[in-house]
């Protein structure tokens, strides 16, 4: 502020006669205002800082100890209905080389579910039903790495017939989900029946507390756990590390995050997940079964037509029975024993009410 420019405009300062305006002290009002605003800003800063003060240290915040589980089972069951139903296409007569099986996947699903009492026993009118197939891999139905789309379609139809308000099909894929959903044929099959197909987009995952032996907190695909009823529709197939994968292992699809670490203790991970997710119903697709090079396969010679559908209310029993399809023994699958010990079901499937249809 150069003196040539003349006196600056007086800003409320009472110019005392005989003193230069530049050096005159501010008025009392001005001084108080300035002091007050300084104190106010400083006080607000201090109060705000105290509010969010972090005292540091390595204390790990202990998460709430409550285990979150998702139990969709139907509590009361009639004793007359089977607990495990196996539907097989009738064996062909000698010399019949026609490739057509003697039943469709839909017929098998209907027979199996009817043996358990019919879908109306599981799905009530107005329910939101979530169907969890295996849509893990970018493979086509012929490779049998994903659930057969016709089996998924049959389950959707049954759920609709039972009066479901909404039927949602979702899975967390291993390969690019867009490609898996399209090339598995499940997207198209579900869409044609009016089911809602939800891809595992990032925003659909929320952290939940599984509190298992090896799985503590993990991001969970919320679509699969926001439901009235959940139907597990896995495909039975070989798995190089877990040896056999179907119902219990299918819950890998609810997890987000770094699933690649689960394999270090795959059996306990499977048991932890099966503890977290207790489905209403299990419908195992064994229409075509990958017997080698699982879980991904890729060679149609690795898959074998078995024309079988297993339905059960017990996911452990479904797997204990299903592993025999690929020539595996249930004693060799540690996760079945863990599941039985945790009370998730029984690996002695013959102790259940079994029905072959």
């Amino acid at each position: 502020m150069s003196p040539e420019k003349g006196p600056p405009p007086s800003s409320g300062v009472a110019d005392k006669p005989g003193r230069e305006p530049e050096v005159a002290p501010p008025s009392r009002r001005d001084a108080l205002l300035r002091l007050g605003s300084m104190a106010g800003v400083l006080g607000a800063s201090a109060a705000g800082a105290r509010l969010v003060w972090d005292k540091g240290g390595f204390d790990v915040v202990q998460s709430a100890a409550v285990r979150q589980v998702r139990d969709y089972r139907i509590k009361e069951r009639d004793a007359e209905h089977a607990q495990l139903a196996i539907a097989r296409a009738a064996s062909k007569e000698e010399g019949d080389d026609s490739p057509r099986p003697l039943a469709t996947p839909e017929q098998l699903v209907r027979r199996a579910v009817d043996a358990l009492g019919g879908m109306a026993k599981f799905v009530s009118r107005g329910d939101v039903v979530v169907i969890k197939p295996n849509i893990g891999w970018d493979r086509m139905p012929i490779h049998a790495a994903n659930t057969n789309p016709e089996v998924v379609a049959a389950v959707i139809k049954l759920a609709h017939e039972a009066g479901a308000k909404r039927v949602v099909v979702a899975d967390g894929s291993c390969n690019d989900p867009n490609r898996c959903f399209q090339r598995s044929g499940i997207w198209r099959a579900s869409y044609q029946l009016g089911a809602e197909v939800i891809l595992p987009q990032e925003h659909r995952f929320r952290t939940m507390r599984l509190k298992g032996d090896v799985l503590d907190e993990w991001p969970i695909f919320t679509t699969l756990v926001d439901a009235d009823k959940v139907i597990n529709v896995p495909v039975a197939k070989h798995h190089n590390l877990a040896k056999y994968t179907a119902a219990m292992k299918n819950w890998y699809g609810v997890l987000g995050g770094r699933r690649n670490r689960l394999h270090q203790n795959i059996d306990t991970s499977i048991a932890d997940l099966a503890t977290f997710m207790r489905p209403t119903l299990v419908v195992v697709d064994a229409w075509r079964v990958l017997v080698r090079n699982g879980p991904q396969g890729g060679n149609i010679d690795d898959a074998k037509d078995m024309h079988t559908v297993i339905a059960s209310v017990d996911q452990v029993a479904a797997d204990a029975y299903g592993c025999s399809l690929i020539g595996q023994r249930r004693e060799n699958l540690p996760y079945l024993e863990m599941g039985e010990k945790r009370g998730l079901g029984t690996m002695r499937w013959e102790n259940l009410r079994v029905k072959e249809v």
Binding site: Q182, N260, Q296
Partner: protein, 664 residues
């Protein structure tokens, strides 16, 4: 400066128009002296420059004093008697000066140009959003996965890309034939691509309107919009890039405007906005209000299905690409449309061909009052004003000058009189030769660095279907379409991994994403054939050898089953080939207990059953799925390098793949 030269005398080039700006050749005397000047009243006209005036259509008021009839009248007085009647409807705003409204066709063309800019920019963005596979509920399981739209269309229509790759490969690759159409359009109506179509040009048009401060409006803007010598730079760049193309490098793609737009918006802006939207909508999702949560959920659903990729994408060193975009957009603050006028080699290419254009400008110099309204609105800095020759090679054909002119000076017509037109670029021979020399020296300069013939970087993993590296560099224009379309975020712009010559060419970074086994989309969108349009059958090798892009290797010191006696083999599970390239060796290995034994005894050992993975190099295709899923987080225990890639006969491991007839 204050007094206007008298119109009655022979029209001299206005000193400040030609004197300071040396590039504008003096106007031919015969052109300007022919028309009899109807209004020989020497009215002093104040130059509108000193007063900062807004750049919008409202013109500086002092310029209105030129016509004799309106010299004393207020600016909004009715037009003088000798002026044509006011044009109905479209030209409502009273123009300064004589107030002669533009022809209706000029107004229509101006609005058509604006509509065209909006349309093509929207189309470009739509194509960019569609450059990615989102799956379809309608497609059959066995239908091949392809994009339904020609999302690389803008690049196919790019004659600079076509010319550069024609020089380097001596062929025109597939869809690049479409660029003939743009060439034909240019030869019909000039550089309309720059003013009407180019999405990057539209972006600059917008920012040149948005950004200028006091220094970029009024007089300074008029000054900035005159033709300047620095505008020649783009021609020199063009010559250098074309000669570098002849030498065998498509490095010019770094400067192609469409490539820049795809690269910087596709790899920087879109993922950045997606990140921001994910953060903000994610924050809205945890708000404990159901309506807010629902709205956020629906917004995320909609965005994920229409705009974003299926997940957040990250790109290698993309900050630099975005930095350059911001810098070149910010340059509009100082020189409007800096990019288009000074650097754009595509604009230069079209400028060279604009000499053939049948459509062009005529000027009635005698009527010009030097109000400079044309210059205020000029996009190409192509000398639209009276007293100098129009620069056809610089003009973007935006039609702003004819619309702005209140004196009936400027008219665009078919087959115009060219006496006041310069049709060819005003380049200097020595500098042009120097540019050609620089272009010719680029390839040797780049290749004596140890990046290609020797010491080729092991991480330069090219996409499946890429041609041999030298042919690849002849073709790759760094448009980043392949990186944008890759569903797994596997392809990234190289920084200097592939040498200075390979800047922003695609490389696979398997740790970020792996090459999806049955996916061939990168080849589908590649406009130049650097990545060939392979089929799934060719890629996966059904009935033929598969296309390998590299080979996986194990780091036994980091691998869990190999060194930590822990079961894992996620790599084997993800290996997509059949039979699998990763096979496992079943072993029972001893593992020491972590705790010492009782009474200080040494720790006990127990046996664990393990599957230890191995790679079969004859089956491995180098897709990197194993590297992507390896649970050793920081530095994976299995990794892919480019050795064994199908496209090379020398970068091999196995004897049977070696071809000693090829130079190493």
């Amino acid at each position: 400066m204050d007094a206007h030269p008298s119109r009655s005398e022979s029209v001299e080039p206005i000193p400040w128009k030609t004197g300071r700006v040396g590039v504008v050749p003096a106007l031919d005397m015969e052109t300007t002296s022919t028309p009899p000047v109807p209004v020989p009243v020497p009215v002093p006209v104040p130059v509108p420059a000193p007063a900062p005036a807004p750049a919008s259509a409202s013109a500086p008021a002092p310029a209105s004093a030129s016509a004799p009839a309106s010299a004393t009248a207020p600016a909004h007085a009715p037009p003088p008697a000798h002026a044509p009647p006011p044009a109905p409807a479209l030209a409502k705003k009273k123009l300064p000066g004589s107030g002669i409204p533009p022809r209706r066709i000029a107004v229509v063309l101006k609005w058509a140009r604006r509509a065209s800019q909006v349309f093509f920019f929207a189309l470009f963005m739509y194509f960019l959003f569609q450059t990615g596979f989102r799956g379809s509920f309608a497609a059959r399981a066995d239908a091949p996965v392809r994009l339904p739209l020609p999302v690389e269309g803008f690049l196919l229509a790019d004659p600079f890309v076509a010319a550069m790759t024609l020089l380097s490969t001596h062929s025109v690759y597939r869809g690049l034939l479409w660029s003939i159409g743009l060439l034909a359009l240019t030869m019909l109506v000039g550089r309309v691509f720059c003013g009407w179509i180019c999405p990057f040009g539209t972006l600059h048009h917008f920012f040149a309107w948005l950004l200028p401060s006091r220094r970029g409006r009024g007089g300074p803007r008029v000054e900035a919009n005159k033709t300047h010598a620095y505008q020649r730079a783009k021609y020199y760049l063009l010559y250098a890039f074309l000669i570098a193309g002849l030498g065998g490098s498509a490095i010019g793609g770094l400067f192609d405007p469409i490539c820049i737009a795809v690269r910087s918006i596709g790899l920087g802006v879109i993922p950045g906005v997606q990140y921001l939207s994910h953060r903000t909508l994610g924050a809205a999702q945890v708000v404990q209000v159901r309506a807010v949560q629902g709205a956020a959920d629906h917004a995320q659903d909609w965005l994920a299905q229409t705009v974003w990729q299926s997940k957040q994408f990250y790109f290698h060193q993309t900050w630099f690409i975005v930095f350059l975009l911001v810098a070149v957009l910010f340059a509009n603050r100082f020189i409007p449309r800096f990019w288009c006028r000074v650097l754009c080699p595509l604009g230069a290419f079209l400028g060279v061909f604009a000499r053939f254009a049948l459509f062009g400008m005529t000027k009635d110099h005698a009527k010009c009052t030097d109000c400079n309204l044309c210059l205020v609105h000029c996009q190409g800095a192509d000398s639209p004003q009276g007293g100098v020759k129009w620069r056809q090679d610089e003009c973007h054909m935006c039609m702003n000058c004819e619309n702005a002119c209140p004196e009936d000076v400027i008219k665009f017509t078919f087959l115009p009189n060219r006496r006041s037109t310069v049709t060819v670029p005003d380049t200097q021979r020595r500098t042009a030769l120097a540019a050609v020399g620089a272009g010719a020296m680029f390839l040797p300069a780049a290749r004596v660095a140890d990046t290609l013939d020797v010491n080729y970087h092991s991480k330069v993993i090219r996409p499946p279907g890429a041609v041999e590296e030298r042919a690849f560099l002849e073709r790759c224009i760094r448009c980043a379409e392949c990186m944008k379309v890759c569903p797994n975020n596997a392809l990234h712009p190289a920084f200097f991994e592939a040498g200075v010559e390979g800047l922003w060419t695609p490389i696979l970074i398997a740790r970020v994403g792996y090459c999806e086994y049955s996916c061939v989309l990168c080849g589908q969108v590649c406009p130049t054939g650097a990545i060939q349009k392979i089929t799934e059958k060719e890629k996966m090798g059904l009935g033929q050898p598969p296309i390998k892009i590299g080979t996986a290797f194990y780091d036994h010191g980091r691998c869990l089953p190999w060194s930590m006696q822990t079961p894992c083999i996620v790599c084997e599970e993800f290996c997509p080939t059949s039979p699998k390239a990763i096979w496992v060796e079943e072993v029972d290995a001893p593992v020491r207990d972590s705790k010492p034994g009782p009474n200080g005894a040494p720790p006990a050992y127990k046996s664990v059953h393990l599957q230890r993975p191995h790679v079969d190099p004859s089956l491995c295709i180098g897709c990197g799925a194993c590297e992507k899923v390896c649970p050793v987080q920081d530095q994976p225990a299995v990794y892919v390098t480019n050795v064994g890639e199908t496209r090379s006969k020398t970068n091999v491991i196995l004897l049977e793949n070696t071809n000693y007839n090829q130079k190493s």
